[in-house]
Symmetry: C2
Subunit: 180 residues, 2 copies
C-alpha cells in the first residue's frame, strides 16, 4: 500500500512525530492523500518494526513525551524501489455521480443543491491552491528540482478544481431543462 510511502516521503526533509505527520496530511501532502492520526500511528509502528524508520524518544516537561521519527537508509532504499515500480491508477469514487444517475427519481432541485455544494468546495480549494501558488511557486522554472515536483502536484490540484468548476456550470445549465 502507499500510505507508508507517503510517510517516508514526508520524512525525507525533516524528522517528524506522528502528530506532526498527521498535520502534514491535513495540508500539503493532504491535497492528494489523506490519513487520520490513527492510521499514521499504526503505520509508523509497522515501518519501525520493518526498519524503515528510526525513532527517538524525547521526554518533555508538562507535555506528553514525543516520538520523533526519521528515515533510515533502508527506508529510503525501499522508497526508491517503489518509485520505479508501476503506478496504480487512482480509482475515483464519487457519490455525486450516483446521485446524478437518479435524476428523475427525486426533485432535480435536490441534485442541483448537491452540485452547488460541490461548486463551493471547488471554489474554496481553488482559492487556497492559488494562494499557495502565488506565495511559493510564482516562477516555476526557477524552482529547485524537488520543488518542481511539488509544484506539479499543486498544479494538478489547481487544474482539477478549475475543471470541476467548469463541469458544475455545465451541469447546472443542462439540469435547468429538467422539470421533475
Amino acid at each position: 500500500m502507499s500510505l507508508s510511502h507517503a510517510i517516508l516521503t514526508a520524512l525525507i526533509d525533516e524528522n517528524l512525530t506522528g502528530y506532526e505527520l498527521a498535520k502534514q496530511f491535513d495540508v500539503s501532502l493532504g491535497f492528494f492523500w489523506q490519513a487520520s492520526h490513527q492510521q499514521i500511528y499504526r503505520e509508523l509502528k509497522q515501518l519501525h518494526e520493518q526498519g524503515f524508520v528510526a525513532v527517538e524518544e524525547v521526554p518533555q516537561l508538562a507535555k506528553p513525551d514525543k516520538r520523533v521519527y526519521s528515515l533510515t537508509a533502508a527506508g529510503q532504499k525501499m522508497l526508491e524501489v517503489w518509485i520505479l515500480a508501476p503506478t496504480r491508477s487512482r480509482h475515483s469514487k464519487d457519490e455525486l455521480f450516483i446521485k446524478l444517475y437518479n435524476v428523475g427519481l427525486v426533485p432535480v432541485a435536490s441534485i442541483v443543491a448537491a452540485i452547488g455544494q460541490r461548486q463551493a468546495e471547488h471554489q474554496r480549494k481553488l482559492a487556497l491552491y492559488r494562494k499557495i501558488e502565488s506565495r511559493s511557486y510564482a516562477d516555476p522554472a526557477q524552482l529547485s528540482d524537488r520543488k518542481k515536483g511539488i509544484y506539479l502536484s499543486l498544479l494538478a490540484g489547481i487544474r482539477q478544481e478549475e475543471m470541476g468548476l467548469g463541469w458544475c456550470s455545465d451541469a447546472r445549465k443542462l439540469l435547468a431543462s429538467v422539470t421533475t
Copy 2:
C-alpha cells in the same frame, strides 16, 4: 457507505443478478465507481436482509441457478433519503503525486515514465468516453431527464481525462528542465 446506493441505482431500471451487476460496475457505473463481484455479493446479501432488495431464484438448465434482485419500495425510499443528504466529497488518493514529491531522489526518467503511463491511460479512457458520447449522447438537450444525468457523469469523465492530458503535458515540459 455508498456501494449500496450504487447498487440500488442500478436496479431502478432493471432487475439484475449479482453477476450482471458486477459487469455493470466494469462499464457504465464503473466509470466512477468500481466494485468487485465479492463486494457486490456481500452487499446484496445485506441489502436483502434489510429489505431494500427482493430476490427471485431462477433455476436454469446446464447453468448455475440465478438470483435475480429487484428494488423494493423500502429500497427506493432509502435511496431517495440518501440523495437528499449531504454528499461526501471524493477523497482522491493518487500515488503519482507521492512519486512527484520525490523528484530529486531518483532519476527523473523514472518519474517521467510514470507520467507517460498515466498519459496513455488518459488517452485510452478519453477515446472510450468520446465514443460513447457520439454514439448515445450526441444531442444532450434532447435526452430524457434520466439520460441527462447519466450524460453529465460521462461529461465529467471526459473533462477529467482532458484535464489529465493537459497536466501530463505541462509536467513533461517542466521535468525536462530537471537534470538528476
